[in-house]
Symmetry: D2
Subunit: 478 residues, 4 copies
């Protein structure tokens, strides 16, 4: 048996965050909010809470259901809490890197949790270490924490502001003080964050689906460059960065976010469906049925089907229990045809010309496998249509993909990729067409980051070329 | 915190079975086959294997991923194996009732696993106990095992045949001998079972999706009343009951089976979609969007949308991680609006007249909650359309629903139910219309069991009125 | 790393049993009683209880502390309970073989737990299987259960009596009915069992230390051949076998029982100390210090020291945490001198002539290792004195030792063994001297079974030569 | 059920440390060394190793057997390792406080583990936090780590030396660099540490029993105020503090250390036995039997018995499995006499005048319970003799006892204590008599810390009166 591959052929979101202030069940609501955000990270989870006198925390490896059992939530007392779900790469998936991190400084205790990636974390860490800071994890979050601790500031909010001014990249951070909750979002709005209300309580979360889940109302998105402070005197807001054109991550819409979330004003499902329609209009295919790769491409496929009038069919079925199966077939068994994740439905596919809708092609290996799956179930033709442009360059703002040389589109044109994935035809959206899905014509000055499609990064990549200072710390297991 | 309700407002399938003979990786393939059948039972799982000399077994409570860790599969040696996933009611979900059961008799060892429910199990058990049989579980499976053991037969196949002749009800049973695999399906074909091939190996399974998953080819359905024997001399077949009109369970198609399975020749997704089309044609609704209750009603909703030309939208999102969350919101939190399982998407639903497609209404509580969910997300109207007839009578053949008095349709007419679930309109398919989905006109002599819709049971209900002989055995936890 | 050897060079006790009737905390007291009996079996544990209407049970693999967590005891309701701790050989240590077994028959439910070994279990099982009985475990206990179930008897007590008359060997069995507790002890008293009282409640247990632990008073030993019935009408007693000379197992005194237990009237520590004194008197050694092998030989060593006036020193220290350590040193590490279980204390041993007291030599490998340990810590001489006779023949009544050919004393004389264990001198007690420790002169007609020392078994060995009827059932893990 | 009391009426050792350099099996040997030190802490354990390029670590809550399973040790690569077992108070027993801590600084990575307690940790932490240091745990160890990180030093050894010069108290610290192992012991030698060799490898450990266990030879004690550096060039030593009279903790000898350890030249068992002899000579009692409270008072009781010629008997038996039992009897059950930890043996004790030897009386509650236990088992008189002086003042150097007002001897004289524990007579050793056990006459200038008996602390208590700066951080569970 092999163990499961932790670096699948899909972009990986780094994390989801949640915070709530002024609710008697703050840690339970944080738990439920995180359940709604579980798709953003399944490898570690944690919650910190405060009752104004003490700060409580619990975190662990695995799904929320693994980390929190009866009883642990009940010990997370207090009227305010923050929480975190984490995706992480194989080597670093250790309890040490789980969040929130709780810390004590000269003047105060606080807890911090973070979604995103800093492009100057390495640079900042070197500077901090040179000044005597001591690091116990390999996370960006600890860098932000040190900056907060080092800020010569009267209030926690001032300290967070000072820290936020020094960091560059994509970030959505929640900080819990003894009796206050602070949230900051990066100046470009690369990573999403929303603000909601539940009775008298304020809530912040990575996606609006977390608000819906706990019965809270969406107030608005947290603004890029905004610092929100919630405390006994209510909610207040300040800016830590000048207002600039926002650059929200299109890939949240294309792939990551839950279809029921509204991100920066756009409903995710609706955008995806529109992209499917555009794809159908501009990249038609002669097919008998439309099939979407579950789950993320279902919306786009529905749009494609509606527009093209080709019937939509469930020709691929995803096993919903597979996420939890750690026993993977060996190569020997895989060669016999064992496929746990996806099944092609012969009685639907057989003899049909299939239009296969997927949201993206990263390394190409999954696409080839799905095409083969459909053919071996009897599809006569497979026309692949992708509801985003070719993915040519790695993200530096919180999405973990393969390195540039592993991205099939960074070194091959569409014709070559079509051959490599063994499709009968292949088409992508262009970046212009992608923007059209959001109602923009052209890419000039759009409020989006399309760097993974254009190589045009909206920030300097400070750490590029910086080496690790030392030998590596490896935490083994729990 | 409350613990999760183990008796939700949904019919519950009893089990899934799998068997394979003549493959060097028999237990691994059984594991993957069961992963594909996991939707049929999530509360216990087990595998027994044989190398011709020894019989090996392992079982436990929970999902396959919980029961089988690295290493345990490797100890299940041999070239033949059977496996089981189990749904069970709360009280009886103990390791004692997990399957396969392994037994030793005068003449042989065998292992047995079963999907279905006998209508004369209680009666048989009383008779067996009177003759001195000793029962260690509360399962029908142990009754069948005793009948096999008591059969005065030369071969295991003869003994199984003798047992099969005595039992009445719905059953799909796999039996593993020292060097043979036997499968039997009830004479009416109430429970599904298919036969497949993988190279030289033979495979039997509750649904064809398990064959697809391991790369095996579907040969045919196991015939009602058929006993299949697979051993060193290959596969042979005999009948243990005279051929009668088959009575396959329509509810497998309506709700249980995986959409990619072919059951008795019909692809499940295709049938569901057709039922949706019929529903649209015969029970139209003035709506702006069609929404299906995920996951089981998606196919029917797609059919309804196609036929009605009303666009299909993902207005309800199911949290895929919720299955594993044992910490449920307390009533207090539920009152604040916490909803873990389903979210209604405001930006899709708001201001819309929704046509809500569901596969069935059992107790009605879930339907009411979903209607409320849609309204609170802004739906202006909610028209409920059900892709099956009113569910009026409990199943006795392996599906665990509420008792008759809990079934809303057994005591209320459609108008009353419409009010109770707070819908603007409500319509069901009739039984005739349901049959139309399979290509039959009228219900006379159709090869289906519709007893849950018609109260017309295809067998005598032998145990009705029989009391439990003794006090109850309660196994606590694992 | 190797896994721990499950067949160490020590005799292994099969089990401990406990039962209580008429106490509102019956399952909690059973738990504490079993904790006191944990030395009799560490590989599985279980409790069954009854409230007169329902029977509850929970069992699992491992120590009591592993099997019972907060909450499970609380679900074991009722005023009566039985419990079991189990030692088992590697292959059969599965949940299936854990006890108590709960069963339902024609007329009643009951639970049963057993310490001991039957010499006609195989024979009985063949007969029962021929009559149609179905076996799900490989335990003697299930054989007894079938005999009880098959008895044509009005009361559970009559059925148990009928069963007890058919079984031969060493056994101490507790049976729990719906509102009654029954205990039987084999006619020769090979296995121990005591009766106690705690207020109005009656208690039975394998050893008196379990009574002490729960605050109960020792009333008397259960008589060999006695059946004790405890129910709503109080305690009653009957005999199921004619009174014969009792044959209690001397090895319980020499090695197994806890030193604070009184077994058949003798305090275990006191007997061991007396054996040490006799050993000193009759098998003196020129030594500077006396060292006992912890823990079982400490009493004998103290007696030896007192009698010989040679000071007793703690020259060997046992690591009390090692029992729970499953990671054992590989041979490579063992060769470097890694020794987890015992340490020799250099500053005590160095330059000393050591008299090493041990309770028995089974295969001899442990003895050689201890002698080497002492020498490498600087002992100038090591004189080994054994507080029992040479162990020459396997037990058939519930103690699991090596097979005859693995018993060093069955094939070698004392001089040879002395050489093999590399001691400077070696002496055993004779059987006469062992009997002297209990106050008997000579071995004629003593109330003890010394078969392991004399090959003189007090019962026929019915199963000898009987073969297993079938292939083997192997349960893998939990 | 109550959960176990985590603050029992016994002093609690803080920790044990271990380190090894230049062995291909360094982490496995560290594991076995820690098994031998498990008595010094059972609540958390961890190991860090290095292969010169990467540093690996694993830690967790519970016994070593709970924290390390098959596989985890194998991932701890490299030729050098350090390890830690931890005792901690209830609230702080969290994964965050487990050790070794691994850190990265400006110039290097290192791992650190610590046994002891600093008397200026709070003061140092305030200073460090004021300078911007950020703390993630509540351990002294993290204070030492920050001092190391802040040291402006070329080598790790220089940095450790700089840190060691700033800390006051009792400490035995091991630090692992990328290719070096450093050990420091406090200038007074309050906490023990030994140096050993195993072939070419060097080993350091809290007690010599850890050396014995892995087959290493004891070279010498690490000197008070010594820093030992072990690296590719072998072992070197330097002093970080001027040589002063050493002040080794007598309580290590009286209670904590394993009897087979040699601490600063004295074998623990031998010292204890000598204390028992002195106790017998100077504080005789008219008794029939001598009983020691297991396990720590067995040596002293043996000495008392030998000197007094009163026979030593095992009148109290400790349940060796109780350590792992988390289900404790409720008060209700305790009142019925349930006693899990100790049993008094009626047949030994009944009618006897008992001389009960214990090593210390802390709060007095345990002593009273044992006296009652003996009386209820029939002892006619109970004369308590304590092999140490009255414990009047809390330790500040790494032993966790009750606060001063909970120490029975700090507020009551011997006569009063005798009444409170319900003994017939009571005597303690004086401090002079205690010193006699080590061969010293008088207490002037002895190389021991007797502060718990004399209130005469060998260091300033810097932190006394310092308050916590902030609110408290509480980590919940794992």
């Amino acid at each position: 048996m092999e163990t499961v591959d932790n670096r699948p052929d899909r972009p990986q979101e780094e994390c989801g965050v949640f915070g709530i202030y002024a609710h008697s069940k703050s840690s339970a609501l944080t738990y439920y909010g995180l359940v709604a955000l579980q798709h953003r990270g399944q490898e570690a989870a944690g919650i910190a809470s405060t009752d104004g006198n003490r700060m409580y925390s619990h975190k662990g490896l695995g799904l929320l259901a693994d980390v929190f059992k009866q009883g642990e939530l009940e010990n997370l007392n207090g009227h305010a809490a923050i929480g975190h779900v984490r995706y992480s790469t194989a080597g670093a998936n250790t309890i040490q890197n789980a969040q929130p991190i709780t810390l004590s400084t000269h003047t105060r205790n606080f807890a911090i949790a973070h979604n995103g990636n800093l492009v100057n974390a390495k640079w900042l860490r070197i500077r901090l270490e040179q000044e005597g800071s001591l690091f116990q994890t390999t996370t960006d979050t600890e860098v932000i924490a040190h900056l907060i601790a080092k800020a010569n500031a009267d209030s926690l909010a001032d300290a967070v502001e000072a820290a936020a001014k020094q960091i560059t990249g994509g970030f959505a951070v929640v900080i819990l003080g003894n009796d206050e909750l602070i949230a900051v979002r990066d100046p470009l709005g690369l990573r999403p964050m929303v603000l909601g209300q539940l009775g008298d309580a304020y809530v912040v979360a990575s996606e609006s689906c977390a608000l819906e889940t706990i019965g809270a109302t969406l107030v608005r998105d947290v603004e890029p460059g905004e610092l929100i402070h919630i405390g006994p005197d209510g909610m207040s807001s300040r800016r830590f960065a000048v207002r600039r054109q926002r650059r929200m991550c299109t890939f949240e819409h294309v792939y990551f976010a839950r279809p029921d979330s509204d991100v920066d004003g756009w409903n995710v499902h609706t955008v995806r469906k529109r992209l499917g329609r555009i794809l159908a209009k501009l990249h038609p295919a002669d097919g008998d049925i439309v099939i979407g790769v579950p789950d993320s491409s279902i919306s786009a496929a529905a749009g494609y089907a509606e527009e093209s009038r080709i019937p939509y069919e469930m020709g691929l079925i995803k096993n919903k229990y597979i996420a939890r199966t750690f026993i993977q077939p060996s190569q020997e068994l895989r060669d016999t045809g064992v496929r746990l994740k996806l099944n092609a439905v012969r009685s639907i596919v057989e003899g049909k010309r299939v239009v296969l809708i997927d949201d993206s092609i990263v390394r190409g290996t999954t696409s080839r496998r799905i095409v083969q799956l459909l053919r071996s179930a009897g599809a006569s033709e497979v026309h692949v249509r992708i509801s985003s442009p070719p993915y040519v360059s790695p993200c530096h703002y919180g999405i973990d993909t393969a390195t540039a040389d592993q991205l099939i589109a960074s070194t091959h044109d569409v014709g070559e990729i079509c051959g490599m994935i063994e499709a009968d035809s292949l088409a992508f959206l262009t970046v212009d067409e992608l923007m059209e899905g959001f109602g923009f014509s052209g890419t000039t000055n759009v409020p989006f980051c399309n760097a993974c499609f254009t190589r045009n990064y909206p920030t300097e990549l400070v750490d590029s070329g910086l080496k690790e200072a030392h030998h590596e710390l490896v935490h083994v297991g729990g």
